[in-house]
């Protein structure tokens, strides 16, 4: 048997709907407002005890966003990550009820981990275990995605990508690839993650999290701040979207993925991983680097990440497009980050502005970039690149462009 390359297509991929929950706000309108006002959403952690941690802050979704949107005992049993996913999907499908996906590709790193923590703590302290069945049934990483699909009666299969902090961008990129190749017509893509103690303490133990403000690309950057949230993009093959009169918000035109084997948790300082991912994304999109108007950087504010990413951007984009890391405002929501940041790019394209990189004083010596410092800029954004990189050396970039008929 031989592979038949003639069957491969290059379908165009439209974004026809989006929904988002993040520390920036519940929904697209609040998110846009927060981006335009450069709101710093980082504050003290209230979900669990962090007294023994070096870092004691995070960007939390306000409590309403973690609550179920429907009543009933089943809804009350769900994990907060499920509730965020349901809310994001609700916003995306609210005005697109004819969007029936063939597939969902969703990213996460820890799913309902806090339920796993409660289960272990209860066992460890010999506390009552009446709620154990709820914790066990709802802690698994795929459950929030399943809950969200079920809440809207969607029976499509689901691929849950757990590529650490790149998961959300990988999910959108793989969904893009699935439509582009002609295998699927409509795919839901996105990501979710809720703050949990295990992951928070983990980053604190690595000293990757900062007790200071999150200052991506700044000379005085000292690390990341965790966040949480969920976002969903409804992707559809271009002609299908046009034929049914869907409102096309933007087009995804490129995707790149690379693996850097330098170290489990640190990027190769040469920036080769991010560079390969961005280069591949531009190549898929069939565009020149000079066409890029904005880069939403991974920008965690750790020394190593920002240095490698800045080097890769500088080498690949000699024209020096504006760059910002919106994690400075909303923290790093891990598996949700790429999906939320794709929505940020979508808003930038739709509303012609560049989201800011706050808490920025002066660029690090290793950062030769045009940083959108502290305040948003008015600017037409026809082409945006969104980057996500993660543990395991995983790197992903996507290209979003204005919808061209």
């Amino acid at each position: 048997m031989t592979f038949n390359a003639a069957n491969v297509t290059n379908k165009r991929v439209a974004v026809v709907a989006a929904g988002v929950i993040s520390p920036l706000g519940l929904g697209l309108a609040e998110t846009l407002e927060s981006l335009r006002t450069a709101r710093d959403c980082v504050g003290p952690v209230t979900r669990f005890d962090v007294q023994a941690c070096r870092c004691q802050t995070a960007a939390q979704v306000r409590d309403e966003g973690l609550q179920p949107i429907t009543n009933g005992s089943r809804a009350r049993r769900l994990h907060p990550a499920s509730n965020m996913m349901i809310r994001a999907l609700h916003e995306a499908l609210d005005e697109n009820q004819n969007f029936h996906p063939d597939l969902a590709v969703i990213g996460t790193t820890s799913g309902g981990m806090s339920f796993g923590e409660q289960y272990y703590r209860a066992l460890s302290t010999r506390a009552p275990l009446q709620r154990a069945p709820r914790w066990i049934a709802n802690y698994s990483p795929q459950k929030p995605a399943v809950d969200a699909l079920e809440a809207f009666g969607l029976e499509c299969p689901c691929q849950i990508i757990a590529n650490a902090c790149a998961s959300g961008t990988n999910a959108i990129g793989h969904a893009f690839h699935c439509i582009r190749s002609g295998k699927y017509r409509r795919v839901l893509a996105g990501g979710y993650d809720a703050l949990c103690e295990l992951v928070f303490v983990g980053f604190d133990s690595l000293q990757a999290a900062t007790p200071d403000k999150c200052r991506p690309f700044d000379a005085d950057r000292t690390g990341m701040v965790l966040g949480e949230g969920a976002a969903v993009l409804a992707l559809e093959e271009w002609n299908s979207a046009q034929d049914r009169g869907a409102n096309i918000l933007a087009e995804i035109t490129g995707y790149g993925i690379s693996t850097d084997n330098h170290h489990l948790t640190q990027p190769n300082p040469s920036g080769i991983g991010p560079r390969d991912a961005m280069e591949q994304a531009l190549r898929t999109a069939g565009i020149d680097e000079s066409m890029v108007d904005y880069i939403n950087a991974h920008g965690t504010a750790t020394k190593f990440n920002d240095s490698a990413e800045a080097k890769a951007i500088r080498e690949l984009f000699p024209s020096g497009p504006p760059v910002s890391s919106t994690k400075s405002m909303m923290g790093h929501s891990l598996g949700a980050a790429g999906a939320i940041e794709a929505v940020v790019c979508l808003l930038a394209i739709q509303h012609s502005f560049l989201p800011p990189n706050i808490n920025f004083t002066r660029a690090g010596e290793d950062v030769d970039l045009d940083i959108v410092a502290n305040q948003p800029r008015s600017s037409a954004v026809r082409t945006a690149v969104s980057n996500s990189f993660g543990f395991g050396g995983t790197n992903a970039s996507i290209v979003l462009q204005t919808a061209r008929s």
Partner: protein, 374 residues
């Protein structure tokens, strides 16, 4: 699009070489039972564990020094699949290789140890060495580093059917004509914490053997290990059809959903099916799906011998399917009972040159793959 299986590898409680495990399955052997102890509740649970000898061929690598059991299982199975396909490192340097790693419970041993320190002694005692190994894609990262992969690498999570989701995803990845190979690995490790959870879920039995298709269902025994399947453009067995799967909101609906995925991959009414029956509600769901879609077919259930290997289990089924198609042999069928009496059945069925692998996870997902001798 044609995607074929060019090589396979597994690490199981019955051993790790293809022939060794296959012969034990044909003989109906089961692994020795281990008791895994719960230090918190002074309880113990039965489990099938990978014997140390199963990893004897795993070459040393800096990435594996501190790696968890799940990473070692994954690396051993992945390398075995590349060897089975006669692929050398030199050959792979000139080819585009992708990796899809499928997992359900993940590196639970290190995750539990990391969190135990937090619970027992506070956040200040959390180990920065352990934390990176708790991340779901740690095993995939180690395998990528060992084989020198620098392109597409996905970790996909789900329940026991996620191995088949991995095959589907790999097929999606290979719709890019520049990808020559995709290595799909699924791995899992057994631990008392998982056993305790499955016990509370009323899915675990206290002692072997697992009695598949018994009524009422008597429960399963967790096992561990890894399976690996190398997908290529050519190979002895073709992936004729895949179902990306479907979810069932309630266990009672599992049979209906399984019937749907069997139909979706074009299962014939007299098909040979390698199912995931494991002594739980899955058995009744699979037999009901068979009665609907393949009433003259025969259902094999290798989890009776290998235990519930969760993510790894679905790829073990695929590997058993590949072996059946390439050797015209199968262990004794378990459903329907009348089939067990027909000693020549395996040859008759495998002579047809195709079979379906069906997987029902315990957490709401089902998938299927139809394999055909190329």
């Amino acid at each position: 699009m044609n995607v074929c299986i060019a090589g396979v590898g597994w690490v199981t409680p019955l051993g790790s070489t293809i022939e060794e495990v296959w012969n034990q399955l044909l003989a109906g052997n089961i692994p020795p039972i281990a008791e895994v102890s719960d230090p918190l509740g002074n309880k113990s649970y039965p489990a099938y564990q990978v014997p140390p000898s199963a990893l004897r061929n795993l070459p040393p690598h800096p990435r594996l020094r501190r790696a968890s059991a799940i990473s070692r299982f994954a690396a051993a199975a992945g390398l075995a699949a590349l060897t089975d396909a006669n692929l050398t490192n030199e050959h792979l340097q000139s080819k585009q290789l992708a990796l899809v790693f499928a997992v359900a419970n993940g590196g639970v041993i290190y995750t539990k140890r990391f969190y135990r320190d937090i619970v027992d002694s506070g956040a200040g005692s959390a180990s920065p060495l352990l934390f990176p190994e708790t991340v779901f894609n740690a095993a995939a990262s180690h395998v990528a580093a060992i084989i020198g992969l620098n392109g597409t690498c996905y970790t996909v999570v789900g329940d026991g059917s996620v191995g088949l989701t991995g095959i589907q995803m790999a097929e999606d990845v290979m719709s890019d004509p520049s990808v020559d190979y995709c290595l799909v690995i699924a791995a899992e490790e057994a631990d008392w914490l998982l056993c305790d959870a499955y016990q509370k879920w009323r899915l675990l039995r206290r002692q072997p053997p697992i009695e598949v298709f018994a009524s009422p269902a008597g429960g399963t025994i967790l096992s561990e290990g890894a399976g690996a399947v190398l997908l290529a453009r050519t190979g002895p067995v073709q992936v004729a059809a895949t179902s990306a799967g479907a979810y069932f909101a309630r266990r009672e609906k599992a049979g209906t959903v399984l019937a749907r995925v069997l139909e979706k991959v074009g299962t014939s009414e007299n098909a040979m099916v390698i199912g995931s029956a494991n002594g739980t509600f899955v058995d009744a769901a699979e037999s009901s799906a068979m009665d609907k879609v393949a009433p003259s077919g025969v259902l094999y259930a290798i989890k009776g011998s290998l235990g519930e290997g969760v993510a790894a289990g679905a790829l073990w089924q695929v590997i058993a399917g590949v072996r059946a198609l390439t050797t015209a042999q199968m262990p004794q069928p378990q459903y329907p009972k009348r089939a067990a009496a027909d000693r020549s059945l395996a040859k008759k069925l495998t002579d047809r040159g195709e079979l379906t692998v069906l997987s029902c996870g315990l957490n709401q997902h089902a998938g299927a793959v139809r394999l055909r001798r190329a």
